[in-house]
Subunit: 437 residues, 2 copies
């Protein structure tokens, strides 16, 4: 088949590899210039945390080795209290599992190379989509260039131009939901050529209503991201205010940020949005148009699953093509079932923001996590939600069913334990039964 | 102030009247030609049911008399069972209250006349908005014409072009939610110059998963609307199938529809959508852009409140302008509080579809309505939700609080009554107490 993919970002490139392996001819249209010929975009969503779902999707194409070679494993969260005290919380009970910090630009270049190297894949840069006729698969680009394909797949991100067209069709439900928070990137450079904090952790400064995180880079710097209410971001409007605020709320990081004021004033404020769409594909006339990745289901970054989920979309669509014998309209129809999973991770990502910015700073929460890890060691088969999401490829919706089931089991076991203790004490005369009242 | 209103539909025209009364200069841009110079649009959302909120908004401008003169009051629902049996259910306990059937085109012409008659109001037809710069209030139309205003208000309906621009701005949350149902209009003509059914009722043929309704017109015809699942609408693809289906499921109406097959095949299928947006206004640079009516909060038609709610928007915005001393940015900020009310009616309208198509056909439901009307007669101050929505101007969100409060009171009274009866019977030895078990 002739397949057009709009967007040569992470998901578009990986999907092109999967489709080329099936023998399809793929043309990738990307609105930006070739990233291999330009510098990286500073200040916007630099780091990703690749975990099991992403690794699995890369491994099926033999791309995992090269990608992970450049990545930095983070085995847990390092919480920074306002007084500078550090607490490490491992992601897994045996501390063996890690999520992997990687730069978006590096990963994109790697996947672009992989896609370009496939026979049957062509990549066209500088092509911004301005028109799409879903009945004919005809595409029009800003340059005046036109194209047509029986199969058009939008992998063009949260603000997808392909989805913008589908949204105009009656029957296509859609929502975009912004948080009242913005994000801004800052930097902690290397000191004397070395990391100035532990590079084996994802660093979090939980501050109740807001937070900062930091992920390590191969050049031994850290990329920090503030997730703050818009009004807080806007309130720091002078170098004095910026320095005073960081000195008060992030004292240990403040000393490690020589470029704080320039970064704060120079880097843009990003927005945090959840996009939902249904259906993800429209079949009309001779053409079928579908969506994958953020174009179908953009989520907030707080579970580190945006790219992982998009990569898993490629695996799932590949599976649907198997099932449909490479009939794309049928495969895209089967692919709609994945919405049950992406709806779950969208919700978990929103919930995790509250956990990261607020709860991880609480002793009770950390004690709960220790109990959970103890349960994992004690009960074979008990696995935390975080591990099921990050270190397995269990579908997200099954993760939620399993977590609910585990809670019931543990709850029942706990109740039985309490009853046993009660019975034992009563047997020893320590508790008087109701007949004695 | 110079105010631009995009859309000269029902809400745009009424708002122009309200703003002109305050002394503002208003230009109304409408994409369609002047409806006074063209015939009515057949087959799409012909009839409205104007009730208290709409009447109140018209009355404040002295427009109620002329509008209601042309309307037909409907004092209740007439249910048509599959065997042709009729059941009348009044909307109010004393049968004195009615909603008013009126043609959208007639009402629009009336309001257009009223707006055009105001000094300071100009109406421009054939102007389709193609560009809007929210920072300058500059508008561009398909014709090439340009305009600018410090205040731009989108009253351009569910598929608002003004909102389409606001949706592109970061921070503007939005959703469009389609039902899996379509609607299609049919007709029951007059017979020998007379109504062939009772014109004092809104007729409903509840059929579980689907329904038909009919509203009377001044020419003594009825406009019928099917609300059917899309697959049912599509399945009747031959004259034989259409006739057979209606003969089976709507036998009494079938005999009154000589043009059934032509209407069914000729009229388009409409879609049912709920649109939500937040915020409704954006202030940027020197300009402010806001939304009212369906552009801000399109709802499904099942509570008969779409136009009433849009008219009430005008009253509320007028009130906000009072409060803000005609400072539009401030008034539009105050107007955001109305979202609490429009969110409620959006939900009630969705819920009422289930009630109309399914529950009104059940004896238990009708018995419940009779009990409710008995309560209204017996308890001073008890008013049903339907009456509060349709026959009062109590804000929708307060309707919901009051309904919840009434339910608690009646529940508590009911429980007390049961306890009293129980105690009385037990006192007479008819019930044995637990001590006798």
């Amino acid at each position: 088949m002739e397949v057009t993919i709009v967007g040569a970002g992470l998901v578009g490139c990986l999907l092109a590899c999967y489709l080329a392996r099936r023998g399809h001819h793929v043309t990738l249209y990307e609105r930006r210039p070739d990233p291999r010929e330009r510098g990286p975009d500073r200040g916007r969503s630099i780091n990703l945390a690749i975990s099991q779902r992403g690794i699995d999707a890369l491994r099926r194409l033999g791309l995992d080795g090269k990608v992970l070679h450049a990545a930095l494993p983070m085995a847990g969260r390092m919480m920074h209290a306002p007084d500078g005290a550090l607490t490490f919380q491992p992601y897994s009970a045996d501390r063996s599992q890690a999520i992997n910090s990687i730069g978006r630009a590096d990963l994109n270049r790697e996947l672009l190379e992989a896609a370009s190297a496939q026979p049957g894949v062509e990549v066209r840069f500088g092509c911004r989509l301005t028109g799409l006729d879903e009945r004919t698969g005809r595409l029009r680009f800003e340059s005046g260039e036109e194209a047509a394909a029986g199969v058009v797949i939008g992998a063009d991100g949260a603000h997808s131009a392909v989805r913008a067209r589908l949204q105009q069709l009656p029957g296509v439900s859609f929502s975009q939901e912004y948080l009242d928070y913005g994000y801004k990137e800052l930097s902690i450079p290397a000191g004397n050529g070395e990391f100035v904090m532990d590079p084996g952790a994802l660093h979090i400064w939980p501050r109740g209503r807001s937070m900062m995180i930091a992920l390590p880079n191969p050049d031994r710097s850290f990329t920090c991201t503030l997730f703050w209410p818009h009004d807080t971001l806007a309130a720091l409007d002078t170098p004095q205010r910026i320095r005073a605020y960081f000195a008060e709320h992030y004292p240990d990081a403040f000393g490690l940020m020589p470029d704080l004021v320039a970064d704060y004033r120079g880097n843009p404020v990003g927005h945090l949005v959840t996009m939902r769409c249904s259906p993800w594909h429209v079949r009309a006339g001779d053409a079928v148009v579908g969506l994958v990745g953020d174009a179908a289901h953009a989520i907030v970054p707080f579970y580190g699953q945006g790219a992982n989920c998009g990569f898993e979309d490629c695996v799932e669509l590949d599976r649907c093509l198997d099932e449909a014998g490479d009939d794309f309209p049928r495969a895209l129809e089967l692919f709609e079932r994945r919405k049950a999973d992406t709806d779950v991770i969208a919700r978990l990502a929103l919930d995790n923001f509250v956990e990261m910015r607020d709860k991880v700073g609480s002793r009770l929460f950390l004690a709960g996590k220790r109990v959970e890890h103890a349960l994992e060691r004690a009960l074979p088969g008990y696995v935390s939600r975080y591990e099921l999401v990050s270190f397995s490829t269990t579908p997200y919706s099954r993760v939620e069913r399993r977590v609910a089931w585990q809670r019931r089991i543990v709850g029942a076991a706990g109740a039985a334990l309490v009853a046993l203790v009660f019975a034992a004490r009563r047997g020893r005369g320590l508790v008087r039964g109701p007949e004695g009242d």
